[in-house]
Amino acid sequence: MKTLTAAKVSLRNIALIGNPNSGKTTLFNQLTGLRQKVANYPGVTVEKKEGRISFADGSEAVLLDLPGTYSLTANSFDEKLATDILFGRAPHSRAPELVVCVVDASNLERNLYLASQIIDRQLPVVLALNMMDIAAEAGIEIDVRSLERELGVKVVPTIASKGIGLVELKRAIAITHNASGKSQQWRLPEVVEKEFEELIALLQEHHQLSAPIAFHEAVTLLSSHNGLGDQKDRYSPELLEHVKKDHLRLDFLGIDRQSIFVESRYEWIKNVCTHAVTQVSSTEITVSDRIDRILTHKILGYVIFFALMAVMFQTIFTWAGVPMRLIGDGFDWIGQHVTRIMPRGDLQNLIVNGGLAGVAAVVTFLPQILFLFLFLGLLEDTGYMARAAFIMDRLMSKVGLNGKSFIPLLGSFACAIPGIMATRTIENPKDRLVTMLVAPLMSCSARLPVYTLLIAAFIPNTTVLGVFSLAGITLLSMNLLGLTAALGMAWIFRKTLLRGSPPIFIMELPPYKMPSLQSMIIQMWERSRLFLKRAGTIILGVSIVLWFLATYPRLENASPSEQLKQSFAGRVGHLIEPLIHPLGFDWKIGIGLVGSLLQREVFVSTMGTIYNIQNASDADGSVSLQQQLQRDKDPVTGIPTFTVLTALCVMIYYVFAMQCMSTVAVMRRETNGWKWPLFQFGYMTALAYSATFIAYRVGLLLGMGA
C-alpha cells in the first residue's frame, strides 16, 4: 500500500508531441487505452487530453497529449500552447519530465524539424518513429541505430495503427531518465553564431533563464522580423537595445535573420537523413495520387463531396432508426413498470411524465449522434477533410474565410463547441473570430433531435428521384440552409466589422490512410458519455422543473389541456405568444422555445413533458410524441397546432437561433469577454426571427397553412 501512495506522488509527467498527421493521436490512444480524460486547460478553452500509461513493472505515468504542431515558433494558438507547456510556462502546469516525440517515418525530413527543436529543449526525449509501414511502402529504408547516433536520442520504430512497437516504446520511456546532453547540433554561419551565443549568455545573466530557455528565446529574438512584438514587455530595455544592435549588424551584412535559423536546422537534418535514410525505390504515382485525381477532380470532386454529405445525413436518418426505436421502447417499458409499481399521485406523475419522459425524448437521439461522430471521425482520419478544405478554399475565400475555416465549420455539424475550439489552428485572430461567430449557424447535433422529431411527424415519407427520401432531403436542406447562412454572415462580417488582409492557407495534404477502429470507438465513447451526462443532469433538471411549471397550480376538475393552459408554463407561453404569433407559433411552442434557450434538444424533452401531461388521460402512454404532435388541435377552433408549415418554421427558427448556453460560455472564454458572445446571441436571434417570419408569410401565400 505504501508503495502505491509513493507511486502516486512521484508519477512521471510525460508529454506527447508531434506534427499533425504523424499518428500522434492513434499512438496516444494505444498507449493509454480508454484510460484518458478530456478537460480544459485553466483559463483557456483548449482541450487537455491526459491519460495513464502503465509499464511492465506495474508503475504508471501521466501522458499528456499536446496539440499537433509543426514547430515551436508559436504561429498559432495551438503551437503557442504546446511551446508554453514544454517550457513550463503554461499556468498551473509544470514542465514534463520526458517528451515522446512522434515523427512520421514516411515524411522524416520535415518531421525532424520539430524533433530538433525538442532535442534543443534538453529534456529526456524518446523518438517514436511512427508509420514505418507507410515508409516501407514508399520505398524508404531507415537505419534506426544510425538515426539514434545522429540525433543523440533513443529511437523506437512503431506502427501505432497496428499496435506494433508499443512494448519497446514503453520500455524506452521507462528507462530514459536523462537528456541526451547533445544540443544544437546544427551550425549557424560564424558571424551569426557569435551574436547568438552572446545573446544566450546575456539572457541567462540578465533574466536568470535556464540554458535551454535562453537558447529558445535567443532564436526567437534574433529571427524576429522587426519591432519585437509581444517580446517587448518580457525583457529589460538594455537587452532589447542589444537585440536591436544585433539586428542592424546582421541586416547590414545581408543576412536573412529569419531564414538563417530555419535553413541551418534543415541543413543539419539533411545531413542526418543522408546517414540514416535510404530511398530504395520510388514509385512515382502513389495510391494517394490516384485517389486524389478523382477526389479533387474539377467536376467529380464536387459531385463526390456533395454526395458524401447527402449520404451522411441520409444514413444518420435511416440507420439510426432501429436503435432509436429500441431505446424508445426501453423507456416506455420502464415507464409502464414504474406506473404499475408506484401508487398513483404526483410523485408517480413527476417520475413518469416529468423526468423519464424528458430524458427519454433526448436519449433516443443518441444513435444519431453516434453516427454523426462516426462519419466526421472517418472524414478526418482518412485524410478526406484536408481534401475538402482544398477544393472548398476558393469558395471560402470569396466570403473572406479560408479552407482551414472550413474544417471547424464542418466540425460544427457535430457541435459548435469543438468547432469553435478547432479554430485555434487559424493563425490570424480576425479570421478566427469570424469563423467562431458563424460556427454555431452550422446545424449541430443538438438540432438533430428537433429536426428529426418534426420531420418524422410532418414530412411525408415519399421518395425523390428513386433513391432519396423526402425526409433525408429535408434534413439536408436544413443543414445547407445553416451552411449558407454561415457563409453569408461571414461575408458580411468580413466586409463590415472585421476587415483585414486575406487569411493564409498553408496546409499539409496527408496521404490517405485507413482509419483506426480504436480511435473511432474511443471518440464515439467520449461523445456519448458527454451526451448522456448532459441528459442525466441538465436535461433531467430542466424536465423536472418544467414538469412542475406545467403541472401547478392545480385546478379542480379541469381537463388536462385546460390544466396545462392555466399552469405556470402555460402562462409564460401565453405571455410570449403575441411575440411569436407572427411566426405561426402558438403558446406551447413558446414554452419549448423558452425552455430550450439553455440547449436546443431541450425543445424535444419539453414537448415530451408537455404532451405527456396534457395527454395523461390517454393513460397507456404508448402513443409516441410524433403522433401526439400530429393529433394536437386547438380545443376551441379545432385548428391543428402543427402543420407542415409550422414544423418547417420551427426547424428554420432552430437553424438560426443561438439556443445554447454552452456555446455562449465557450465564446466568452475564447474571446475573453462578454462582447462577442452577446453580439453573437443577438444577431443569431434576430436572424432566426426574421427568417422564420419570412418563411411563414411565404408559406401562407403558397397556401401551405392548411
Binding site: S106, Y113, E263, Y266, T296, I506, P510
Partner: protein, 80 residues
C-alpha cells in the same frame, strides 16, 4: 534555368526554391518551416478545381497553398 515565382509554374513543372519574398512575416515563417528553403526542389502537382489553391510536393510530402502565397516563393524554373 530562369527565375520566376512558384505561382507561374504549371502542374508537372519543377523548380528550386531561391527565396521567400514577402513582407508578411508569419507567411514567411510558416513557408520556411514547412521546408520552403533555398535549394529545395518543389514540384507542382495540381491546381484545385477552381484554379486556387495549388498543391505542391517538396521534401517527400504534399502541401497546399494559395496562389497569393505561392507568388512570394521565388524559384529557379527547371527547363525540361
Amino acid at each position: 534555368m530562369t527565375e520566376t515565382s512558384l505561382s507561374m509554374l504549371l502542374p508537372g513543372e519543377c523548380g528550386t526554391v531561391e527565396r521567400i519574398n514577402t513582407a508578411a512575416s508569419n507567411v514567411r515563417q510558416r513557408l520556411l518551416e514547412m521546408g520552403m528553403i533555398r535549394g529545395t526542389p518543389v514540384e507542382i502537382i495540381r491546381f484545385a478545381p477552381l484554379g486556387d489553391p495549388i498543391e505542391v510536393r517538396l521534401k517527400g510530402y504534399r502541401l497546399s497553398l494559395r496562389r497569393a502565397e505561392a507568388e512570394a516563393v521565388i524559384v529557379w524554373r527547371e527547363i525540361k
